[in-house]
Symmetry: D2
Subunit: 119 residues, 4 copies
Amino acid sequence: MAEDSLANLNERLLRFARERDWEQFHSPKNLVMALAGECGELLEHFQWLSEERSAALDAEKKREVGREMADILIYLVRLSQRLDLDLLAAANEKIALNERRYPVHQVRGDARRAGEYED
Amino acid sequence: MAEDSLANLNERLLRFARERDWEQFHSPKNLVMALAGECGELLEHFQWLSEERSAALDAEKKREVGREMADILIYLVRLSQRLDLDLLAAANEKIALNERRYPVHQVRGDARRAGEYED
Amino acid sequence: MAEDSLANLNERLLRFARERDWEQFHSPKNLVMALAGECGELLEHFQWLSEERSAALDAEKKREVGREMADILIYLVRLSQRLDLDLLAAANEKIALNERRYPVHQVRGDARRAGEYED
Amino acid sequence: MAEDSLANLNERLLRFARERDWEQFHSPKNLVMALAGECGELLEHFQWLSEERSAALDAEKKREVGREMADILIYLVRLSQRLDLDLLAAANEKIALNERRYPVHQVRGDARRAGEYED
């Protein structure tokens, strides 16, 4: 288990919070806000870029974006720990559901369906 | 590599998008918006709950919350693939940085520092 | 018309953008991202506060929060201008709808209904 | 005062909440989450649209977008009431600041500066 990337991350973050006695601030409600706050920072990096330029970030910008994405993953893993929820299982179930919902031969290249990808 | 949870997830999502010819919609800019949209749905589950109740979700609510978190992880992994960015390495670097920034003996139980956790 | 607060704000913002030739960046898609980015900043001010403390901000914090809220209003007004959409009429229609949906005698003090306030 | 659009909106919303005894749920922290949740819904309308198409919504989509924007304005006004904060004054101060910061002759048509518009 501890060989796995997300399991490792979770253990490291839990130890980090416990050593600092910060678990008291990490209610699910607060963690959800923090997660969404980080998404706001990520948005700010992309808001004035064209779609094309968003796919061609320079090295410095990419590093900054990577840090925001790291923060999002960190809070997501912390939240799953606080809720005692298996994040990876949830993701795999969701993908299986999407695979059934959007059969290849029906939705190929269809923007409207892509628009429903996340529903 | 493919034994790892995030690497597996990435491969599965990439195949899903390619088979449906949906990569054309997955510009980083669009994926960032989709990711943030999912965070909005997550917020809605928690906005009227007290911090206490947010830590004691019933089974049905927990399942719904798990699905929103799955969507966030899915878009985060898709985005890292499109940006050719190692999400796990970014997270581990960020944690190492936080460990240096917030030494245990200086910040123990300090809410203000917890407030800077994500900076 | 120009006596009204939102109409005035709209005119001032439109002039600001035009004088700087910034309208070219203000596609509705981009403005929506900018608006959501500002919400992220607002969240960050509140994420570690208890509900009680969130209602008792000190003067400095309140000024900062006011600036984030100003940014949100600014982008909201810009967006309504770009979409040629009457923001105030939309708000009044929405309130009228909520008044019909949630009759006082049925929902008084009911948290679940308050939870549906925004649907 | 009551002739003004935002002041009117504020009074109507305050009466709405008081009649239903919903003020108890409207802590600033909760209202900020609700506001950000609505921004998430707004994002979802735009996430797969090109910038061009985002400027050419059909009537039905525009109505839906208008309703999300109404929700954002509603929560923004409620929040300003709970914080006893003059939203309109804050917006006008922010614009005045931006006018000084970005003199027309220095920033005309400059995307980078537009990118700093909201800072």
